[in-house]
Structures are given as structure tokens and as C-alpha cells.
């Protein structure tokens, strides 16, 4: 396997907004042709303000939306051209953890079924094997096996996020896209989830694409950082380099705006 998981080349995404029957549609350029790569085993963070295109990038990588132009090479293969079966295979290798653990879990399903769903859909495992695997995953994310039969509403935000993480791990993915996984959580719970994500990365050799607007969190967890602004990449550097020598004006502004406890 190669060192580079993703190679993203000149990725573009435009949205058309219809203003009316006889008016020309307005074009919103969410991504202006960005290029970067993701190395195996690293944590690459995308940071920027709302509307800068970081979530759009994630959606394109996950094949939730189609790019207007450009290429996304996954282990050397352009995923924008994948068809049926290949696409299914690709989707098993790439998982996501969502921001809001309250709306991303089905309230009518039990924890066991939520975590087991990817296994049910994508593998030929028997029910009993699935249950075994789910209990193993629950242990890995620090959940009690007795909670198998519980519903999401019986859990706090941090615990729900653990359910989401267990589900993302179910199919042994190569890469997990974490879309603001801790920004809906309290600081103390946030610390627990960050610790968990780092532990799991070690154990399962995961690669993370980490999306966040909280630079203190990003500094703690990342290897490299992509700073985005209005659909463009303004800076891409290792964490140390970025925090020590920010070059772009926007990065400087962003860094100076972090409210930290240190003077």
C-alpha cells in the first residue's frame, strides 16, 4: 500500500442557485479548484470559517456529492468515476463521524442495531457474529455491554458520540472523516472523545480527516493543517510550522482570534 491515501487535484464544486424563470442562475463557487494529499496514518485537519468549503470537501470525498471538476484519487484510483460495485467497496473503506450526536442517530433504534447496521448491509456475517462484533466495538469505545439494548435518548452527548464512533469503526475503514466531532460537546466530554479518537487511531492504524473550527483542538490532534478561506486553500503546513510561522494574513487573523488561557 502506498504512503498517500488521497491525492486531490484541482477539485471544484459549484452550486447553481435559480433566481427565477427568466433570470440567469447564480453560481456559488464553494470550491475553487483545491489540491492536497492525505498521507496514510496522519491526522489532516481542515480549518476555516463557516462557508469556507471544508464540509463541501468532506462531502465530495465521501461521494455524498459530485464534484464539478477535478480528481479525487484514492489509493491511485479516481473515485469520481466509480460505478456500482466499486463504489460500494469504496464506501466501506471511508466512514464519517458526524457533528451532532443528537440528530445523527435514529431514535427508534437500539444501540446494538445502530452499530450493527453497516455489518448487516455490507457483510455476510450471521446475526450472532454481528452481535459479537458490536459488543467488541462497544468495549473499544468504552461503552458497557449492558447498553446493547438501550435507545439513544438514554445517553448523554458524549456517550452518543461514542455510538457514532463505534458504528464508523464497524467495517474496519482505512479512513474516517470527522466532521466537527467534538464541537457539540462540553469541554470535559470533548477531552474524553479526543482521547478516544487518538487511542483508536493507534490501535486500528486509522487516518483521520478532521474538520473543525476550534484551533486549540486542531493543534492538539493534527499532524498537518489545511487552512481554507472562501473555497481556496490559503495555507497547508505541519502543525508546528503553522503555529510558529503562519504566512497567510488569514491564518494570522485566525490564530490571533483563538481565546486561550495562556498570555
Amino acid at each position: 500500500m502506498s504512503e498517500t491515501i488521497y491525492e486531490i487535484k484541482n477539485l471544484q464544486k459549484y452550486y447553481e442557485i435559480n433566481l427565477g424563470l427568466f433570470k440567469k442562475p447564480k453560481i456559488i463557487k464553494a470550491l475553487n479548484g483545491i489540491s492536497f494529499d492525505v498521507k496514510r496514518g496522519e491526522v489532516l485537519s481542515l480549518v476555516g470559517e463557516s462557508g469556507c468549503g471544508k464540509s463541501t470537501t468532506a462531502k465530495l470525498i465521501l461521494k455524498i456529492e459530485e464534484p464539478t471538476g477535478g480528481e479525487i484519487l484514492f489509493n491511485g484510483e479516481d473515485i469520481t468515476k466509480l460505478q456500482h460495485h466499486e463504489l460500494e467497496e469504496y464506501r466501506k473503506k471511508v466512514q464519517i463521524i458526524f457533528q451532532d450526536p443528537y440528530s445523527s442517530l435514529n431514535p427508534r433504534w437500539k444501540v446494538g442495531s445502530i452499530i450493527g447496521e453497516p455489518l448487516k448491509l455490507n457483510t455476510n456475517m450471521r446475526d450472532i457474529e454481528i452481535k459479537e462484533r458490536v459488543l467488541y466495538l462497544m468495549e473499544k469505545v468504552g461503552m458497557h455491554p449492558d447498553w446493547y439494548e438501550r435507545y439513544p435518548h438514554q445517553f448523554s452527548g458524549g456517550q452518543r458520540q461514542r455510538i457514532g464512533i463505534a458504528r464508523a469503526l464497524a467495517l474496519n475503514p482505512e479512513i474516517i472523516v470527522c466532521d466537527e466531532p467534538v464541537s457539540a460537546l462540553d469541554v470535559s466530554i470533548q477531552a474524553q472523545v479526543l482521547n478516544l479518537l487518538l487511542d483508536l487511531q493507534d490501535e486500528f492504524n486509522l487516518t483521520y480527516i478532521f474538520i473543525s473550527h476550534d484551533l486549540s483542538v486542531v493543534e492538539h490532534i493534527s499532524d498537518r493543517i489545511v487552512v481554507m478561506y472562501f473555497g481556496d486553500i490559503v495555507e497547508l503546513k505541519s502543525v508546528d510550522d503553522l503555529f510558529k510561522n503562519p504566512e497567510a494574513d488569514y491564518t494570522k487573523k485566525l490564530l490571533s482570534a483563538i481565546p486561550t488561557i495562556k498570555d
Partner: protein, 288 residues
């Protein structure tokens, strides 16, 4: 008199079939004139309920069971509903967390700021009120205030909406501004602007601010005094300087160590967490 507001032994309980939830249990603190007091705590610590209790905005099944909230010598908990309505918006006003949902989408921005003046400044005529609204939009840093008067909230960005919320709250020049997580929904750069704005308004008008947040970074930036709440109780109270230099209560320490600080916390190291198994209330309160 040094203190604008004194909260003494405030108790707010919620009653349900499952039992009594003592959301705010015997909480006392003071807000000095012209200063910023921060209440910090996690969700469920009772910080928002404390602020709502001050304004007496607690709804069924919640009941303010006891205590005193003394503003300029009068106990707000003893006022009639009609008297209380005159306090809200005029002497104490509030900014909420979600600027997207706390403005009415079907009225213009100007109309919504004007509402506070219509209710509380009845001696002003229409023209005077218009000028005052434009002035307050200008004060909170909205460009072209005369144009923006007629805009609807959907045309404004999140930061601008929060500025409008602040303009509404400041319209009657209240003595106390309660801000419940006013910047949590905003981007960091916008957050910095809004915090600067609040400080600037405080300097100009001498308003006291009660700021509720879970973000200790924000607390460090703006607080004079800090109140740390945990499960309905105050566990530590100190000036901001003392609290960050020398946190004494185990819960405060755990909270402070759970956030990574760029350049200080070793990268990818285990962060301390608030331990669910520890009964932090068993430690003595640290009130300085």
C-alpha cells in the same frame, strides 16, 4: 453601593414524576457595577437556569423555591409580574445563544430593536425612536444603519444577527446585560469581534455583564470574576486572575486541564477529563 446585583441562596427546582431536580441549589454571588462576572460549567450545571431565575423566566415545572435576587436594593423575587415586566429589557436584558432563532424572521431588524423602545421609553416619539435605533445599530458596528433598519434577519450573517441582538439588549441602556453563550454559535474571528464589542459597550455605558459560557478561553478574555458551577452548586468563586493562576477546587482543575492549550499541552497527549466517578461536591467549596 459597590454591587449592582446580589444573588443570595437562590434555589430553583424542577418537579416531575421522577422526583425533584435541584437545578440551582443554594447559589450566592454578586455582580459589581461595571464588571463582568462569568458563570462557567458544563451542560446541566445550572448556569443557564441561574440566569433565567434572575429574570424570573422559569416556566412550569420549574419553581424558584427560595433566596433573594437583589437589584439596586430591591428583591426581584418579591415584585409583582407587572413590576417585573418593567425590569426586563429596561434594567436587565438578555442575549441568547442562537442568533439564528432568537430574532423574529417576519419583522425587520429595525422594528425589532424599536420594540424595546416602544415598550420601555414611552416618552419618545416615532422620529426620536428611529434615530435611536439607527444610533444603536451604528454603535454595535453594523454598516449603513439607515439601510439596515429595513432589512429582514435572513439577510444578515450570524455575526451581524448577534450584533442586532446586542443592539436590542442595549437599546434601553440596561444596568445589567445577561449573555447566555452569546458566541458559541459563531466562528472564532466573529467571536473575537463580538467579545470586543461587548467590552467596548461596557466601557462606554458602564453596564455590568453576567456572561454564561462553557468556554474557559472566552472566560479568560473577558471575566473580572468567575463563578464555577457544578450540578447546581457553586464549587469555586474567585477573581479571574486568581482562578487561572491558582485553581483550588478539584473540579475547576479538571475542567482547566481538559482543554488543550496550543504550545503548552504536549501534542496528542492524554487530556485530563472530569471523572464521572468522583463526587466533586464532597470537596470543600473554594470561595475567595
Amino acid at each position: 453601593m459597590k454591587n449592582l446585583l446580589e444573588v443570595k441562596n437562590l434555589k430553583t427546582f424542577f418537579y416531575s414524576d421522577a422526583g425533584v431536580n435541584k437545578a440551582v441549589n443554594d447559589v450566592s454571588f454578586e455582580i459589581p457595577k461595571g464588571k463582568t462576572v462569568c458563570i462557567v460549567g458544563e451542560s446541566g450545571s445550572g448556569k443557564s437556569i441561574t440566569s433565567l431565575s434572575i429574570l424570573r423566566l422559569i416556566d412550569h415545572p420549574g419553581v424558584i423555591e427560595g433566596g433573594e435576587v437583589i437589584l439596586d436594593g430591591k428583591d426581584l423575587l418579591k415584585l409583582s409580574d407587572a413590576q417585573m415586566r418593567k425590569i426586563r429589557g429596561r434594567e436587565i436584558s438578555m442575549i441568547f445563544q442562537e442568533p439564528m432563532t432568537s430574532l423574529n424572521p417576519s419583522y425587520t431588524v429595525g422594528y425589532q430593536i424599536d420594540e424595546a423602545l416602544r415598550l420601555h421609553q414611552k416618552h419618545l416619539n416615532k422620529k426620536q425612536r428611529f434615530e435611536k435605533v439607527v444610533e444603536s445599530l451604528d454603535l454595535v458596528g453594523i454598516p449603513d444603519p439607515r439601510e439596515k433598519y429595513r432589512e429582514y434577519p435572513f439577510k444578515l450573517s450570524g455575526g451581524q444577527r448577534q450584533r442586532v441582538m446586542i443592539a436590542i439588549a442595549m437599546a434601553c441602556e440596561p444596568k445589567l446585560l445577561i449573555a447566555d453563550e452569546p458566541t458559541t454559535a459563531l466562528d472564532v474571528t466573529i467571536q473575537a469581534q463580538v467579545l470586543d464589542l461587548m467590552k467596548e459597550l461596557q466601557d462606554k455605558k458602564g453596564t455590568s455583564i453576567l456572561f454564561i459560557t462553557h468556554d474557559l478561553g472566552v472566560v479568560y478574555q473577558i471575566a473580572d470574576e468567575v463563578v464555577v458551577m457544578y450540578k447546581g452548586h457553586i464549587v469555586e468563586k474567585a477573581s479571574a486572575q486568581e482562578l487561572f493562576k491558582d485553581p483550588r477546587h478539584p473540579y475547576t482543575k479538571a475542567l482547566l486541564h481538559s482543554i488543550p492549550i496550543p504550545g503548552v499541552t504536549p501534542r496528542k497527549s492524554k487530556l485530563d477529563t472530569v471523572d464521572d466517578d468522583v463526587d466533586y461536591l464532597s470537596f470543600p467549596k473554594e470561595i475567595r
